[in-house]
């Protein structure tokens, strides 16, 4: 905070570079990125929060007090010493289900993001590097996919292919890629004109080397930033789908389908412990991812001079 203030004052006075820390030359790229990242306090806190949540989700089988699918206590009882977050309508422990639900929701988000990133990167590389007819076909196809209202497409697809965790992952993965494809294509178009890529072409380097060892590493930063927003969106979409009963199916729990019960008036009005915790957890996870993405955007920005 202080540094930034001083920094700005120097910049406003028109003394470029003077406001920067003196050790900037000796800093490695990762050090610069991490220093810039840590300046975003909310993102640094988010990273810790997210790490705790991810840790809890991974360790769910060890730390969950009860079997998430076993009837462990009385029906629909409020939070108590025995059941910290109460029990659901058929007597399952809400805390245990919440831990497993986080696991499922994070897995869906991460896998869907991975799939869409791979598809988007490949299509974007091909479209941007080869241009011409390949570019035209890929970009028109991208336009088509983007023309459908996103959630409608996902809902229809979820209705077509029987709902379930893996189907949701594939559906989200196959719907999310157009943004990444456009981003990569744009970057590749710029990189293709740079001297180091031209140099590689002249030197007769194999295509695979040019695409994956020269062009791709130079566009990783924006892809990473974009992928965080895809991750946040995928988690939200999984939650929405499961909430509507078209996503992860019971008895497996996901953050969205734990809220599904709140469509009934009894649960909504008299058993808030059943739907408020999963809802809040979605908000916390998605917000943490968004903050981290925002800080990454800043930290990885090659034009940033701070």
């Amino acid at each position: 905070m202080m540094l930034r203030e001083i920094d700005r004052k120097f910049h406003e006075k028109g003394v470029p570079g003077r406001g920067q820390e003196t050790n900037i030359g000796s800093e490695s790229y990762l050090q610069t990125v991490s220093r810039r990242f840590r300046r975003h306090h909310l993102a640094a806190v988010s990273l810790i929060v997210l790490a705790v949540i991810v840790g809890a989700a991974i360790l769910a089988p060890f730390i969950a007090p009860y079997d998430p699918n076993a009837i462990a206590g009385p029906f629909a009882e409020g939070p108590s010493k025995e059941f910290w977050l109460g029990t659901d309508q058929i007597g399952r422990d809400v805390l245990s289900r919440l831990l497993y639900a986080t696991r499922v929701s994070l897995l869906v988000g991460v896998m869907a993001t991975l799939i869409s990133t791979v598809i988007g990167v490949l299509l974007g590389l091909v479209a941007g590097y080869f241009g011409g007819i390949a570019d035209m076909i890929i970009m028109r196809f991208t336009d088509m996919v983007m023309s459908f209202p996103y959630i409608l497409l996902v809902l229809v697809a979820a209705a077509v292919f029987k709902p379930g965790m893996w189907n949701i992952i594939w559906i989200l993965g196959f719907v999310d890629w157009p943004g990444i494809a456009r981003l990569v294509r744009g970057n590749v178009l710029n990189l293709r004109e740079t001297n180091f890529v031209k140099g590689n072409i002249v030197a007769g380097m194999p295509l695979r080397h040019i695409l994956f060892s020269e062009i791709l590493p130079n566009t990783v930063a924006p892809i990473l930033v974009y992928a965080t927003s895809v991750l946040a969106l995928s988690i939200l979409d999984e939650a929405a789908l499961s909430f509507l009963g078209q996503g992860v199916q019971p008895p497996a729990s996901s953050l969205g389908n734990m809220l599904n019960g709140a469509q009934s008036l009894t649960v909504l009005t008299t058993q808030p412990w059943l739907w408020i915790p999963p809802g809040l957890l979605i908000v916390v996870v998605v917000m943490a991812i968004n903050f981290i993405g925002d800080a990454l955007r800043d930290a990885l920005d090659p034009n940033s001079r701070r």
């Binding site: 088509m144 023309s147 996103y150 939200l236 509507l244 909504l268 917000m287």
Partner: protein
């Protein structure tokens, strides 16, 4: 090509006219080109649409049961034209489409175009008001945030905008219903009008408060950040530095010079929002039982009523295409420096 307007001496009027027609011609070509690009995309959309629906399975599944004879199912199959090859079915459907016939619902046997027509009003009302409210929130907040970059107010606005885009719409809806309907009893939680009463505008408005809040809040989230960063870029432009250097005062610089240029990002935001509104309304309409297209689509999806689903998908895809087209054209009109090739 857009040229810089030059007005000199006697030639002034002619030059002006030349410039005007030059722009008009370029604009006409540009619009034509955009439309020509949109047509194959549209055809592709109908193909994707149809393929998904064919994968969806046959509507005959709904008919099957112990009390329905095989012969009856077979008769129905022929009556619905489902015995034809898929390609033929697609072209039959496309031909009907060109005549404005979207087919008939498998469930209620009403024409799909009529069903859409009777449900689109509430959706447009909900979408329009939400878009307006979100802009009223996002434009001032985004501009304020950009002008006061790194101030406490800026941090508060940006953090709130992240909250807006991180809260799932359905969860916010549930929270609002819990507080304002269940606990306080102030607002109705479902439908568009109160049953059994004369529905006035005030009654509809009361029903709209919560769905509009949810939609506007989540839209404003991403819009604020978009407008903020666009405005930050504008504030660094040379022409603003010039304006400041002329010493005409901060207020005039921002209101006269910067705001006019902020129109471009605002148009972008509106263009981006329209498809999202179409989709976002599906879940919100479901939660609040708002009698619009979204509610109709959800019930069509659970009934596997594919002429209806296809109709809605197609309609919304066309809306998105047109919205993108209009955005591009408005861009060209608002920003004279844009390249029209």
């Amino acid at each position: 090509m857009v040229r810089v307007r030059q007005c000199k001496g006697i030639l002034q009027k002619q030059e002006h006219l030349l410039w005007y027609f030059g722009v008009k011609e370029a604009m006409g070509k540009y619009i034509l080109k955009r439309i020509l690009i949109a047509i194959p995309v549209l055809v592709g959309i109908t193909i994707i649409d149809y393929t998904i629906m064919c994968l969806a399975g046959s509507p005959l599944e709904m008919l099957q049961g112990p009390r329905v004879s095989e012969a009856a199912v077979e008769a129905k199959r022929i009556a619905l034209g489902l015995d034809q090859p898929i390609l033929v079915q697609y072209f039959v459907w496309l031909g009907e489409l060109l005549q404005g016939n979207l087919g008939y619902s498998m469930k209620s046997f009403q024409p799909v175009s009529g069903m859409i027509g009777s449900h689109i009003g509430p959706t447009l009302l909900l979408m329009g008001v939400s878009l307006l409210v979100s802009l009223l929130l996002a434009v001032p907040a985004g501009i304020y945030s950009a002008i006061r970059q790194y101030s406490k107010g800026d941090y508060a606005v940006v953090t709130a905008s992240f909250l807006g885009s991180s809260v799932p719409g359905f969860f916010l809806s549930l929270l609002l219903i819990y507080v304002f309907t269940v606990k306080l009893g102030w607002l109705p939680s479902s439908g568009m009008t109160t049953l059994g009463t004369q529905s006035g505008a005030a009654d509809v408005a009361r029903h709209m408060v919560m769905p509009v809040t949810v939609l506007a809040f989540s839209m404003a989230g991403s819009n604020i950040r978009y407008i903020r960063s666009a405005m930050l870029e504008i504030l660094q432009q040379d022409y603003l530095r010039t304006a400041r250097a002329k010493g005409i005062g901060r207020f005039r610089v921002i209101n006269k010079h910067a705001l006019r240029n902020a129109l471009v990002p605002i148009i972008t935001v509106i263009g981006m929002e329209i498809p999202m509104l179409f989709g976002g309304a599906v879940i919100i309409e479901q939660v609040f039982s708002w009698p619009g297209l979204g509610l109709m689509t959800m019930s069509a999806i659970s009934n596997r009523d594919f002429p209806v689903i296809m109709g809605v998908c197609l309609l919304s895809a066309i809306v998105v295409l047109v919205a993108n087209l209009v955005t591009d054209i408005l861009y060209a009109l608002v920003d004279p420096t844009i390249q029209l090739d």
